[in-house]
Symmetry: C2
């Protein structure tokens, strides 16, 4: 059994990343989706081990000390991190591990894991990001404009990735994503 591949995916908000990954991850035999750990409290409906691994601050800090995170960071007084154990376990089983993370976290991983492969999902334009965020109807225009500005900043970092999939047409984007994954599986020495 060949070892699985470590695949890091980033995208600005409003790129349709969630929809693309939802389709791709339907193949549960082939893929394992890396679940993050956090010290924040679960929200309504969030399930431990599915949405996050919910840890106490003490547990989280102990795991940091023991090197059990691939990367971690603090936002708004809470820890967030990527547990290494499940990743290694599923790679060893031959599954590809999909790790969804923002660009700063991705760049931390690039430094640590020469075996990791990096995919960026990009919108066809910033205008489509704005339209998609408006279409969701969950945010005020003020928040939407901040997200669009953030997306613009993140888009400049696409050059740091190995592959860039543009989500213009959803079916094409999913097919492109799967082509990239297959190529990563056929990549020599990664």
């Amino acid at each position: 059994m060949a070892r699985g591949k470590l695949i890091v995916v980033s995208a600005p908000s409003g790129c349709g990343k969630g929809t693309i990954l939802g389709r791709v991850l339907a193949d549960q035999e082939r893929f394992y989706y890396s679940v993050s750990a956090t010290t924040r409290n679960p929200r309504e409906g969030e399930v431990n081990g599915t949405h996050y691994w919910f840890l106490t601050r003490e547990d989280f800090e102990q795991k940091i000390a023991q090197g059990e995170f691939l990367e971690h960071a603090q936002f708004c007084d809470h820890y967030y991190g990527t547990p290494l154990g499940p990743i290694e376990e599923h790679l060893a089983k031959g599954q590809d591990v999909i790790l969804e993370i923002e660009v700063q976290g991705a760049m931390q991983i690039r430094g640590k894991r020469p075996d990791a492969n990096f995919i960026f999902i990009a919108p066809p334009s910033l205008e489509t990001v704005r339209e998609r965020l408006i279409g969701r109807g969950t945010e005020t225009m003020d928040v939407i404009e901040k997200r669009v500005a953030q997306a613009e900043k993140e888009l400049k970092l696409r050059d740091q990735y190995d592959y860039c999939v543009v989500n213009d047409d959803l079916d094409t984007a999913v097919a492109d994503f799967l082509s990239v994954v297959r190529a990563i599986e056929l990549r020599v020495g990664k």
Copy 2:
């Protein structure tokens, strides 16, 4: 119009490379197959510009002097080379250029062209190489054993390539090859 990608393909004999490329290159809009130049005489049925560009020794040497080859070599007293002009022309038109070449030539190109992408086509085993060569019925067993030994040597160089497509089942190999090509098209900065 985005620039096309330069894709270098090598394979030991008996890998089914010709069959795979035949299927892939059917899409003539998308691909340009780089035609080599040579100073040897055309064989029965060989067409100038399709099988080779047939050049005189003087022409060939002048083109070497003018830097018009991506790489060139001498075998059995004849020059063989890869003309740079058509490659650049088709890349500029947005077509992917497929350059089929043996491993030594490929490694020469790796040194010169950081924008090139390298695909190795491998047999599932040396035994299948032997069987395929026997199946062709065109060579003596003595020649076949030499080719198998040569294939074994070349297989060790697959690690020098970016991607390796194993031709066990033909349909799968063609699909894998096209996935790799699509991923190369989506590759950042190459």
